[in-house]
């Protein structure tokens, strides 16, 4: 699924990564616990989270993720956006709650990360 489709499905507002909306992603995960996100090392492309701090961006960077979606209209700080821009990560926010956002992406064919 292209990141642009994720943005459309979630009615999301983009903060950075305009030039990467054509990137294809194949799976996603959703968590507010970054420790749990780091426990998986498959190629998940998208992180959905309600947690807003710099460690979300660093976790995504460590996991080679392409896109972060903040749910419930949570807004990242300018520092976080800059950090993501430096790492080439697309950042957006959606008014959807985590469960709704996951449901929308799942129904449209974006699958979860397999256990490793």
């Amino acid at each position: 699924m292209k990141i642009s489709r994720i943005k459309d499905l979630l009615g999301a507002e983009l903060f950075c990564g305009e030039d990467k909306l054509d990137t294809e992603v194949y799976s996603a995960c959703c968590s507010d616990m970054m420790s749990d996100v780091l426990a998986f090392v498959k190629d998940q492309g998208v992180l959905l989270t309600g947690l807003v701090n710099a460690q979300v961006v660093r976790t995504a960077e460590m996991m080679d993720m392409a896109c972060i979606v903040f749910v419930r209209s949570k807004t990242p700080s300018a520092d976080m956006i800059e950090l993501a821009r430096e790492s080439g990560i697309v950042v957006m926010k959606s008014g959807y709650r985590a469960y709704e956002a996951c449901g929308a992406l799942y129904s449209a064919g974006l699958k979860p990360v397999g256990n490793n």
Binding site: S35, L38, A54, Q55, R58
Partner: protein, 141 residues
């Protein structure tokens, strides 16, 4: 690579939001050295977890990374409180992190288990009231 490459970082224990900066820099350096993405990811996740641990539990410390033609070695050293029971600390889900750390997305008790999982070897030297040194190695092939 004929010569070893080393990096040294001081990890600031005062500021949680800067935790992980050293790991991000190491990741970039390893990319420049042409190391495979899979190895880079394992090294950087293990180091990142270690860095977070040093900030949460030990008010910072130092990180030294050495790249040879055979492996990447990461040595994380702190002067924190030490780990009273290493085998307990190695259990998935066991954490002594406070609730304010959980609110930041960490403290799930996955740090040390993840570090072990993503590296080929991990050694913990710890002494109560003195500090902890963790040495991790990831083979390049």
């Amino acid at each position: 690579m004929s010569e070893n490459v080393t990096f040294h970082f001081d990890v600031d224990g005062e500021n949680f939001s800067s935790a992980g900066e050293a790991s991000v820099l190491v990741k970039k350096k390893l990319r420049q050295l042409g190391i495979s993405p899979e190895i880079i990811r394992r090294v950087s996740i293990a180091m990142y977890e270690g860095e977070i641990n040093m900030v949460i539990h030990a008010e910072g410390g130092s990180a030294d990374v050495t790249v040879t033609d055979k492996e990447v070695a990461i040595v994380l050293s702190d002067r924190g409180p030490g780990i009273p029971d290493v085998s307990l600390a190695m259990q998935e889900g066991y954490s002594t992190a406070r609730d304010n750390i959980r609110a930041l997305g960490f403290g799930a008790g996955m740090g040390l288990p993840n570090m072990k999982k993503y590296t080929d070897s991990m050694e913990i030297e710890t002494k109560l009231g003195v500090g902890t040194t963790i040495t991790m190695k990831v083979k390049l092939s």
